[in-house]
């Protein structure tokens, strides 16, 4: 069984982003980029499934600019087998990405697609669900555990109030939550091997997909500055204030 893992190039999670002065978006000049952390978890999960003998190949896909090849290379250095870069300059919305992935899935015929539950740049949390809908495949989102058994997968999901385990018939879509695993370090030998692993380049046109944005961003703004809170001298005063505010 083949596993496809889409990976997105996003602003590094350590970077404090700034809004462009004209409010048209985030300033990405001279900003460090990295693989979306949830995608790293998805890559790790695919690699663990392969190491456990449940999968035969891990294929990474990135939809983005030429530099997204770097993001694929990071995953190849972790141990994935090969990559596909679908080159697009400019923003691609979740539906566009899902359509591209549908075309990739048609060509690759994977048994499982593992995505990060969301990307940390736009926090959309849509691509996995949309892909499942487009393919008509079952989906296990917010996964904290994935157990593959023959033609089905038991996916434990993080839901409000606890965990829920569902059985999915393969092929299926899984989206990775934070606690699914801890991504590995790429080892020196694997970093060196990654150089020789193939990355195939495609365009949305090659796949017959139109990724033109359907949404219009009207304005991007800084979050409102937090105002200073009130200080209290004792627990009794705190309880009094909370009562006053009507929260207890």
């Amino acid at each position: 069984m083949k596993i496809v893992v889409p990976v997105k190039r996003v602003v590094d999670f350590n970077v404090k982003v700034r809004v462009k002065p004209d409010g048209s978006g985030i300033d990405l000049q001279n900003v460090k980029m990295a693989m979306n952390p949830f995608d790293e978890i998805a890559v790790e999960e695919a690699l663990r499934q392969k190491e456990a003998g449940k999968a035969s190949e891990v294929v990474l896909v990135s939809v983005g600019p030429a530099q997204a090849a770097e993001t694929i290379r990071t995953g190849l250095a972790m141990g994935a087998d090969r990559g596909i870069l679908v080159k697009v300059d400019g923003p691609v919305e979740p539906l566009g990405v899902a359509k591209v992935l549908k075309a990739i899935v048609a060509a690759e015929q994977p048994g499982l697609v593992i995505l990060g539950k969301q990307a940390i740049d736009d926090d959309s949390n849509q691509t996995g669900q949309m892909l499942a809908a487009l393919l008509g495949w079952p989906q296990g989102t917010f996964a904290s555990k994935v157990v593959i058994d023959g033609a089905s997968a038991a996916v434990t999901r993080e839901v409000d109030g606890g965990h829920e385990t569902i059985a999915l018939k393969l092929p299926a879509i899984v989206t990775a939550d934070l606690r699914l695993n801890e991504p590995r370090y790429a080892s020196l030998p694997n970093i060196m091997k990654a150089k020789k692993k193939p990355i195939e380049e495609k365009t949305p046109a090659d796949l017959g997909v139109d990724v033109a944005p359907r949404l219009k961003v009207i304005k991007t703004g800084e979050p409102p500055a937090r105002r200073a809170g009130a200080k209290v001298a004792s627990v009794a005063e705190l309880v009094g204030k909370l009562k006053e505010a009507g929260v207890i």
Partner: protein, 392 residues
């Protein structure tokens, strides 16, 4: 001429930085407070790093190392500079390239075990009466039967308490001056080897610096490293890449990390109603540091590329040693100034970085010694030393 990093270089650097930030940085304060790295913690770090192929990356693959080029190794060493000496030694190994002079049975006895991290090595050249003037050592080895007998004393031997063997410089031909010095591989459990006291230092807490005493230590013939009389030459050539990495690249990495903190402070700290980074005197300190770090790194890469191309890089290495260590000194000093009282306080690590930075201008040849060497080379070779059109 493109100075941007390749994808695999970027990945290597990112992995090392993550390893350092996640695994090593959290241990730094404990090591500083306790003055030692607990052996079980050291063991654990070693095993994790080893499994990732991060140990002894400078040694060729045929001997079990990572086989990095000099340029790639400098990128790694720059990251190492972001943590402390002892944590680097235990996690990534200071496997000295002078051990590549090992031949025949020496390879299995010393080089490979050191590369695998089974046996740790220290370099023992400095003596109380012979620091910069390495040719004036008194430790001597004399021929006896099929081997040698070693007598003498060393000091400031970094990591000596932990080491399993030492590369020791000793006079083998007293009539030949600098050309009469040889290197020996001396196991610590040899009869007559005594490890002296751990000499307390201003910084580099957690790394021991010991005295070594050799009292009629009998060495078999295998213990001679390389050719007799070539010891000082090896110290200059083979240790050159070590000097470039462990001093030059680490100084650049340390300065970069310190500047990150200083820039953060200049952005966040507010006085007189604005961020202190808006004051021009603070800006001057930041701009100077940025320029100097970039210049130091380019000189470092230039020297590393010269080594990879097989050119004589000795003068370049000396320039890097002086420039990177002096840059680190200035950047660390400015950082204390930008942090003000908090920079002097032990509540922040800035004062520790400042103390740790100081020795970079001293060890592996002082600024003054290397400066004099650069001047001599320039007077001899002229433009070859500073003009690429003239360079060979």
């Amino acid at each position: 001429m493109d100075f941007s990093l390749s994808e695999d270089q970027r990945t290597l650097v990112a992995m090392l930085r993550r390893f350092i930030e996640e695994k090593l940085a959290p241990l730094e304060e404990t090591v500083e407070r306790e003055g030692r790295l607990a052996p079980e913690v050291a063991r654990d770090l070693f095993e994790q790093s080893k499994a990732l192929g991060f140990y002894a990356m400078n040694i060729p693959e045929e001997f079990g190392g990572g086989g990095l080029s000099t340029v790639d190794m400098m990128l790694a060493e720059e990251q190492f500079g972001r943590t402390t000496d002892i944590l680097i030694r235990r996690s990534f190994g200071n496997v000295y390239e002078v051990l590549l002079k090992c031949v025949g049975p020496q390879v299995e006895r010393w080089l490979k075990p050191a590369t695998r991290g089974e046996r740790t090595c220290s370099i023992a050249i400095t003596e109380p009466e012979a620091g910069s003037d390495a040719a004036s050592i008194r430790t001597a080895a004399t021929r006896a039967g099929g081997g040698w007998v070693l007598d003498g004393k060393k000091h400031f031997i970094s990591d000596g308490l932990f080491s399993d063997f030492f590369v020791v410089s000793a006079v083998t031909d007293p009539s030949a001056g600098g050309r009469g010095i040889s290197l020996f591989l001396v196991d610590r459990d040899r009869k007559g080897v005594t490890i002296g006291r751990d000499q307390p230092m201003m910084g580099l807490r957690g790394t021991s610096h010991v005295e070594l005493f050799f009292d009629r230590v009998e060495l078999d013939d295998q213990c001679l490293l390389g050719e007799p009389g070539r010891g000082l030459g090896y110290a200059l050539d083979t240790l050159g890449r070590v000097r470039l990495g462990q001093v030059g690249a680490r100084a650049v990495g340390k300065a970069t990390k310190i500047l990150d903190l200083a820039v953060g402070q200049a952005r966040e700290r507010r006085q007189f109603g604005k961020a202190i980074g808006e004051f021009q005197l603070i800006q001057k300190m930041i701009a100077d540091s940025v320029i100097e770090i970039n210049a130091a790194r380019l000189l470092l890469w230039n020297a590393a590329a010269a080594i990879d191309a097989g050119r004589d890089a000795r003068a370049l290495i000396a320039m890097v040693k002086v420039n990177a260590s002096e840059t680190l000194g200035r950047v660390a000093d400015r950082a204390v100034q930008i942090f003000g009282g908090m920079g002097f306080s032990r509540d922040l690590p800035i004062e520790r970085y400042y103390r740790d930075a100081r020795v970079y201008r001293i060890f592996d040849g002082t600024t003054e010694i290397h400066t004099a060497g650069i001047a001599r080379a320039a007077l001899k070779s002229g433009g070859a030393l500073y003009d690429p059109v003239e360079a060979v």
